[in-house]
């Protein structure tokens, strides 16, 4: 039924299908044409759809997003690529002051069906500004949808769902998982764009995670099961909006929650989840909600990133601490 492919290939195939399906879809970004992007996510798309629909942009992120907004106002569905996470900040004003609120400031008359693709996260030995996890900034901004796939299957479908969405979508691609393979069913999307997925079921504690950390959490859960602990893993997939129902139902049942993300801790997605859980499941909790995250530091030199990023041992340690209550 499905095909084995990498996440990079799945994204490429999803973009190809979106370009085929709707002539108003176009791609823009730095080096996305002949080169196919620095990660080759857009490989051959300019060859197949032409330079008017797969547009190499001057090196200016605010310009890329700002002109994409103009294209959206003209009826296009632009999909822009920000080359690396750390380079999205020059476009931050366009995203949070213009793109996100165009529907609101136009009193509902205008919409901006734009996708901003951002390869994000660490673990690839990169230099500074190439390993950031900026999701909380965007999830904090009304008007934006923020999603992140963790598997080739989700990458293939979520990119198409994001492009079809009538609101602006920040589409975060876990770059350390680009080259990992998985099965992709090309026939129909497995889930709504805004739905979380329970990846592993368990009874003792819930790991809430997303993007690059899903695989790490699954490995931790399997290791924990060898020690007789039943760990549930929920892949949030959508960070804005959050799928409260899935999250809360899981924590209601296990009574324990641990949020795992690469991004720095303070003001992060974990903080929001902890708040929602204590607001809605206070009496079901057996232990405090814990967070296993990047530390509150700028992303470190890559030779130190293994101590910065959450890994299997740090997650298992948190499982122990949660269950000790």
């Amino acid at each position: 039924m499905g095909e084995q492919m990498t996440m990079a290939r799945a994204l490429n195939a999803g973009l190809h299908r979106a370009l085929e399906a709707d002539p108003k879809v176009l791609l823009a970004g730095e080096d996305i044409g002949k080169l196919g992007g620095v990660f080759r996510i857009t490989e051959h798309l300019q060859r197949d759809f032409g330079p008017e629909r797969v547009v190499d942009s001057p090196l200016a992120e605010s310009g890329i997003v700002g002109t994409a907004l103009g294209l959206a106002l003209r009826g296009y569905r632009p999909v822009v690529e920000i080359q690396f996470d750390g380079f999205v900040y020059p476009a931050f004003d366009q995203i949070v002051s213009q793109v996100s609120r165009m529907r609101f400031r136009s009193m509902g008359r205008l919409s901006v069906p734009m996708v901003v693709r951002i390869p994000y996260g660490g673990g690839i030995g990169a230099i500074e500004h190439h390993s950031e996890s900026p999701e909380a900034y965007f999830a904090h901004t009304p008007g934006l949808v923020v999603v992140t796939p963790s598997t080739p299957l989700d990458a293939y479908w979520m990119i198409q769902q994001a492009i079809a969405h009538d609101d602006p979508v920040i589409f975060l691609e876990p770059k350390r998982r680009y080259h990992e393979k998985g099965e992709v069913d090309l026939s129909e999307p497995p889930l709504r764009l805004d739905a979380a997925r329970t990846v592993l079921t368990g009874d003792d504690v819930t790991l809430l995670t997303y993007g690059p950390m899903v695989k790490t959490c699954v490995e931790a859960a399997l290791a924990a099961s060898a020690e007789g602990r039943s760990v549930e893993v929920v892949d949030l997939r959508s960070l804005a909006p959050l799928d409260d129902a899935t999250v809360l139902a899981s924590v209601e049942r296990t009574g324990r929650a641990i949020v795992v993300h690469e991004a720095v801790r303070t003001g992060g997605i974990g903080a929001e989840l902890a708040a929602r859980i204590q607001e809605r499941c206070f009496y079901a909790l057996e232990s405090p909600v814990l967070r296993v995250t990047g530390h509150d530091l700028p992303y470190p030199p890559s030779k130190a990133e293994h101590t910065y990023l959450p890994d299997l041992d740090r997650i298992l340690d948190a499982v122990d601490r949660s269950l000790a209550h």
């Binding site: 700002g66 103009g70 294209l71 106002l73 002051s97 213009q98 529907r103 009193m107 609101d167």
Partner: protein, 371 residues
């Protein structure tokens, strides 16, 4: 600090077709191609726009608006350029283009809602082809270039039939030329040869900062570094402004790419009603510019031509008075927004968490009604 006025107009550079005393003059490159009836209509628009502006300033002084952004002195720059906008063209304003807004069909009272705090930006920008006001300086330049990229892809540029073509004009001020977004917009427009006219109203002051702080060379000369043709026009001369803007819009529509127009004008009033120009500029400077007033010079010219007379001017005054009444009454009658109505403008489909937040707020408000 070096206080040379690097932007002082070089008379040879300044395109002018009507002098401050209302005399017609010729220019080697640009010709006025319309009859006086067009100018009579322009005078009416300029006078009504000036009235709208002064009424809004007065409303702010009375506490009826949170803020106003006066355009006093810039009527010719706006009406002349606005008159060059054709049926397939799109306008991206900053936040001071009240005269262009009126020409494109924005109701002045509707506009006041934005400044009174009763609405966000409440006009139908697609139907009117006049985008929302933008309050982040220079941001709209990128939107204009992107929209123009869309026109190219829609096959609306460079057709043999000129009536099938469209273009985009984007307005910003001298201060905005220092913004990254404006410079990026010039790069994108030049690289893609988009049908975009960059219309800069150089009104000499960015709040308290003189043009010399933004640019050490005349602004229009900046454009050559981007590979974009540019002109400097007397912004208080509606004939010259329209002539150069028509030229630039035709270039854009026919596929010849972007143009940069510097309309050399003056902000006679404050930057906004929160500003106090007496703290940073000389009265003599304001007086010198008052002698170049765009409305006065057009009035002198048309009186001299016999195109209008005192009776016509009196009738226009009466029309402006009635217009002023409508603006004042309309402003006071603007409905106060309900927060509950605004939730729906955030997402195409309201997420569950926002539905719950709205319900909580409504329940909270209702708890007072019951008590």
């Amino acid at each position: 600090m070096d206080t040379r006025d690097a932007s002082a107009p070089d008379a040879a550079d300044l395109i002018q077709l009507l002098t401050p005393t209302g005399q017609r003059v010729d220019h080697a490159r640009f010709t006025w191609r319309h009859d006086d009836a067009v100018l009579v209509d322009h005078l009416r628009t300029m006078v009504l726009a000036r009235r709208f502006d002064s009424e809004a300033t007065a409303l702010q002084r009375k506490g009826e608006l949170g803020l106003w952004v006066p355009m006093l002195g810039q009527e010719a720059a706006q009406v002349g350029s606005g008159a060059a906008v054709g049926p397939h063209d799109m306008v991206f304003p900053s936040y001071r283009e009240h005269a262009v807004a009126m020409m494109m069909g924005v109701d002045p009272v509707t506009m006041l809602g934005t400044f009174r705090g009763t609405t966000m930006v409440d006009w139908d920008s697609r139907a009117l082809r006049f985008h929302l006001y933008s309050f982040v300086i220079g941001t709209q330049a990128l939107h204009a270039v992107g929209y123009a990229m869309g026109l190219q892809r829609d096959g609306l540029v460079g057709n043999d039939d000129p009536d099938a073509n469209g273009a985009v004009v984007v307005y910003f001020g001298d201060g905005a030329t220092s913004q990254g977004d404006v410079n990026e917009a010039l790069v994108f427009a030049s690289s893609y040869a988009t049908p975009t006219v960059f219309f800069v109203q150089n009104n000499q002051w960015a709040i308290s900062e003189p043009i010399a702080l933004q640019s050490r060379i005349p602004l229009y000369q900046r454009a050559s570094g981007f590979g974009i043709p540019a002109v400097r026009v007397d912004g208080n001369d509606v004939l010259a402004v329209q002539a150069v803007t028509e030229w630039a819009m035709n270039r854009a529509r026919s596929g010849e790419g972007p143009t940069f127009i510097e309309a050399f004008t003056y902000r006679m009033g404050a930057h906004t009603t929160s500003d106090d120009p007496t703290k940073y500029r000389r009265r003599e400077e304001e007086q010198a510019w008052r002698a170049k007033d765009p409305v006065a010079r057009l009035t002198l010219y048309l009186l001299g031509q016999g195109a209008i007379d005192k009776a016509w001017l009196d009738a226009l005054d009466a029309e402006a008075d009635a217009f002023g009444v409508r603006i004042r009454e309309g402003c006071l009658a603007l409905p106060v927004p309900k927060l509950e109505d605004l939730w729906a403008h955030t997402y195409a489909t309201l997420p569950d968490a926002l539905v719950a937040q709205r319900a909580d707020q409504l329940a909270y408000e209702a708890s007072f009604e019951e008590a």
